[in-house]
Assembly symmetry: C2
Homo-oligomer: 276 residues x 2
């Protein structure tokens, strides 16, 4: 019988996890525990176990974004294949969620065509970074926002953020060792907005380099502190040198908001020609 | 030199703690670790250590409400005495907060007269209980709300809540072993409000019995589930028997919002006649 591919949309609080996937891993491992990690699970491993316990055969779970340790997601995308077609979608989602811990939630399961791929079908992504900008710390969510008690020039940050919009070489805004030859990326928007203590930096783009959003945020905060004028972003970009940009913001303020993917023919069971 | 009494207003996320104070403790201990508890700290102990490290002498820290393990507070009130009058209030608050973990915050320190007492000066308190009423669990704050996925008749809950308002014997709504002879309490208001998935039950009163708000909430949820009509609350109250009321809601949805206290003469240093 033909296998069916499913697209998952997943939310998680990254605090307790070693990221979506340890960087050294290969994408499609078949259930062996990684040699390192000392018992700290990854999101991928945890979701993988829940799905396998429902479909009762080994799967390969491919995620769209390798979020780092402590980074959160409201809309991570992943895919897997199964021939367990007798389980209805609603029941499968409930069964998987019942096997997941309280800080991971499968929000949606959609049947997709076999040419859908969580990595290669990605069209664009949105990240948000949450800064708690007040003298007092956020005692109820210390792991969900970056606390900056200093006064920040928010208008200067908003102005500086505009310099990121468009197609640029983001070599200065990538962690060395990112392993990408091409560091040119298209940023659709980069907005700084706020309401009282809550400061949010939202970035949308076709793709991101390792730590790119966190270095952008760290740099914008330095602009907010008056260490650089907003106009310096352009020069930092053209330097193509990590040392030209600001510090990397910590992971726990970062949220993967959503991922837009090119959808393929869907339906259970799928037409045979659509199965990869 | 005369001692000065300070009133503290404290916020905390109760998740990691054994409550404000273990129930077996006496109020004014002088720094000995309790025999049980296995290394899980209390809020009181943690705040006590921070203050002692700032004022550099033993103190007695008296809290207004003994919140249970996992219960949160936005405005717990406590008091202590010190003769360290050379530390300005702003500096003292910063120094104490710098010595506290990320999930406890001293929001305010006010000098008060020596007749002020966190327990006996309390006039009224407000608790709020936060229910996440949606099919999907709250993956970002599983320890800050009670997840009820069932559909709840919110209007029935609101109507039932009104029966708690006024002066009643709350013996049916107290955990056995509460140790109070008089179980009559005055509830000023009991409101059920909501916005989308977020359901909040707010209760204000002159004082509360052990687990009283949690049993009220558990009972109101049973009304919302259709297990009791809203009119049964009156009969539960008049039964004066714990078995007449509903189940106890879990602690992690409960917040001590504020405590209204009778303020006494304030100022640093205080007039000598105001020092207890």
């Amino acid at each position: 019988m033909a296998a069916q591919r499913y697209k998952l949309t997943i939310a998680y609080r990254g605090t307790r996890y070693h990221g979506w996937q340890r960087q050294a891993w290969v994408d499609s491992y078949k259930g062996e525990r990684p040699p390192d990690g000392e018992g700290i699970p990854t999101i991928q491993e945890t979701v993988w176990r829940a799905i396998v316990s429902v479909v009762r055969h080994p799967i390969s779970l491919v995620g769209s974004s390798r979020t780092d340790a402590a980074v959160h997601a409201k809309g991570q995308v992943a895919h897997f294949d199964t021939d367990q077609l007798q389980i209805p979608i609603v029941g499968m989602r409930r069964a998987i969620n019942a096997r997941l811990p309280a800080d991971i939630l499968v929000r949606k399961i959609d049947p997709v065509g076999g040419s859908f791929d969580a990595v290669f079908s990605t069209l664009s992504k949105r990240y948000q970074y949450f800064i708690w900008n007040a003298e007092d710390r956020p005692a109820f969510f210390p792991d969900l926002a970056w606390h900056r008690w200093q006064e920040l020039d928010r208008d200067a940050m908003r102005q500086a953020a505009l310099a990121f919009v468009g197609e640029h070489d983001f070599a200065s805004f990538a962690k060395p060792g990112h392993g990408r030859e091409n560091t040119v990326r298209l940023v659709h928007c980069c907005d700084v907005s706020w309401r009282a203590q809550k400061l949010v930096i939202a970035v949308e783009g076709s793709g991101f380099l390792w730590n790119m959003v966190r270095i952008m945020v760290g740099t914008l905060v330095e602009v907010g502190l008056g260490r650089h004028p907003p106009e310096t972003i352009a020069g930092m970009l053209s330097a193509k040198d990590r040392r030209a940009a600001g510090a990397t913001a910590p992971p726990h303020g970062l949220y993967l908001q959503w991922i837009k993917t090119a959808e393929t023919a869907t339906g259970v069971p799928p037409p045979p020609e659509a199965v990869g």
